[in-house]
Symmetry: C2
Subunit: 347 residues, 2 copies
DNA sequence: ATCCTCTTTGCATTCGAAGTCATTTCCTTT
DNA sequence: AAAGGAAATGACTTCGAATGCAAAGAGGAT
């Protein structure tokens, strides 16, 4: 059995250009390491004069508590993983910025994972486990087993704009159904007759939900529609419009797009490739309320997601669950706001 | 002097729903903790049969090495901070996604900091020091003292699209001078006479550099110009155009914008607010090559930044410096590519 | 069987801060 | 002045993995 060395045997690294430790500060201030630790902890018992001495020493040595060491001993990394699949979507950067700033404000750091392909998910999760994140916010498609892995490991998750498929998971979504109903109702009352829909990629939860909601509502109101699939980007809006024009013999007078970017692509295509007036000849609506939707040239009629409220809710839900892991999985649905815009003749 | 406890006194957490440690795996496989550690380390000496046993145990217990503990002992967190000021810029999401994916591919994790206001920088840096990141990529304005702090702490930095002001720091930039020269030369040869410039916010490095390059070149070619300041966003392109039209009595026939987003705002404004044809009545050029610049409605004549090559260089430079901190600060300048587009009559 | 080398393995220690517990200090009260 | 109690402080251990070092084992040559 070995005998433990005393702290004073440690050499100071503070002066050697490296980073100071709590021991360095302790020695410099003539106190124990425990005192230094307490000094940086909220509500710990330290005499005012001692605190002063220690803080002065800390300043002098440029001491910053090592979050890695803190994480090890407290079992709280103060890290949250944010997993996002397609950052180039125009919609997600805003969400990411909001989430990051809100988490920062709560003293939580963001470990960002951006997926190039869905197949990378497992590698990403591997890293998520290794870093012992306190929680995760996910805006990417996960298999049920992958979601279950979070539960197994006791890592709280909040899904953003998607729900757990088969697995109960906390989530924050923008209500596709009410949004699409508002759009469809407006279009129908606006005397449109031939409807087209541009769907998102098949593996997008919100994409499918929006299209399904729109289709159902049209059906309820006795209207038929043609559906073509896009992939959420500008070019696919253009391509899908061309396809729909072919299918409907150019009779289409209302187009519902699963997101704004495709709506914008379709608007440009209608005007430039088909010489149509939007909305006189063709009404086009989108979903999301991204920045370009309000540009003068477009003024897309769309449903704006309440990003601030949604991110606020996501962060709040996650933090709640980090602090009280027993909380049940809750789904929060936010109604979007109808932006009347100028790209559709709504009643 | 206290006597050290033996590892077997530790209780297993592997079965308790928590996370398995290397001790749990060791006990399960009937070996020592050191063996487990070696087993997960590249090129360490472990007998094949032992390795098998350990890997099997690890799989069974869902063991993932604790990156926090590894970081503490090895003094390598494998974390890199990415500090970005305005994520909503349309240009940065692409950069961020590229950087994140490239770093991931190198086994490095990204700690993301998104600034709401410049004043937040110091709080962000505080966190950067605490997490003992191995390096940082910065696309935000830092004071010389803030840059110096990185050097003091031996944390390598690479600046993205900005250079160290007064402090030598590694950086990756897109060449504003050659880019603006190409644009200006094209415009001048294209028989334009009344020039306007929409600058970026005064605190933007690239903004100032681009405008200065354009202004100088115009001067060299004996052309005068009016300059109005925007803030890089769409609305400010519109506002600045109005201001310039007022200043030049609507005679302006060439407009140089410090970025694409303002160019797009100006194009829309020219068409919609002033009934002008672009480029027949007014040529407008931008800078960046963001997604919307290639949309059918705009087809902005601009300089596209080679984002892939730039991010690749930034990551490579950072990793080099993490491994060999003595490397000198290098500045790498990438030439942009002229996208001829359709928003300007170039010669 | 003996000796020597090379590979495997385990022990003990270390990274830096947090927290438990025992001890000391300080102040108040009588 | 003594006693009581609260506040302040320090010694020591702990988190989980990496690693220097010594011991043990395997294999080869003689």
């Amino acid at each position: 059995m070995a005998v433990k060395k005393q702290p004073e045997a440690l050499t100071s690294r503070a002066t050697a250009g490296g980073r100071a430790t709590s021991y360095d500060v302790a020695r410099h201030a003539g106190v124990s390491q425990s005192a230094v630790s307490r000094c940086f902890k909220q509500g710990a018992s330290v005499a005012p004069r001692t605190r002063e001495k220690i803080l002065a020493a800390a300043r002098e040595l440029h001491y910053y508590p090592n979050a890695i060491a803190q994480g090890l001993i407290t079992r709280r990394s103060n890290l949250v993983a944010i997993i996002i699949s397609n950052l180039t979507n125009l919609y997600y950067p805003e969400v990411l910025a909001e989430l990051t700033q809100r988490l920062s404000a709560q003293g939580i750091r963001v470990l960002l994972f951006s997926l190039a392909a869905e197949s990378d998910v497992d590698e990403v999760l591997d890293q998520v486990w290794r870093y012992r994140v306190d929680g995760a916010i996910v805006a990417a498609r996960l298999h049920p087993e992958q979601l279950a892995a979070f539960a197994d490991r006791g890592v709280p998750v909040v899904l953003y704009n998607r729900i757990g498929e088969g697995v109960p998971v906390a989530s924050v979504c923008c209500d596709s159904v009410s949004g699409e109903h508002a759009l469809v109702d407006g279009l129908v009352e606006g005397e449109h007759h031939v409807f087209g829909i541009i769907a998102g990629p098949a593996d997008s939860y919100v994409g499918e939900e929006r299209v399904e909601a729109a289709r159902r509502r049209l059906q309820q109101l006795g209207r038929d529609c043609r559906i073509v699939r896009g992939n959420f980007d500008y070019a696919s809006g253009d391509a899908a419009l061309k396809e729909l024009m072919r299918m409907t013999h150019r009779k289409m007078d209302a187009l519902i797009c699963a997101n704004d970017l495709m709506a914008i692509g379709a608007i440009d295509s209608a005007r430039i490739n088909f010489g149509l007036e939007v909305p006189q000849d063709l009404s086009i609506v989108g979903f999301d309320g991204v920045g370009p939707a309000t540009w003068l040239a477009y003024q897309v009629t769309t449903i704006r997601q309440p990003v601030r409220r949604m991110t606020e809710a996501a962060v709040a839900m996650l933090i709640e669950r980090i602090e009280r892991p027993e909380l049940s999985p809750e789904q929060r649905l936010f109604a979007g706001e109808l932006l009347s815009g100028n790209s559709a003749r709504l009643a």
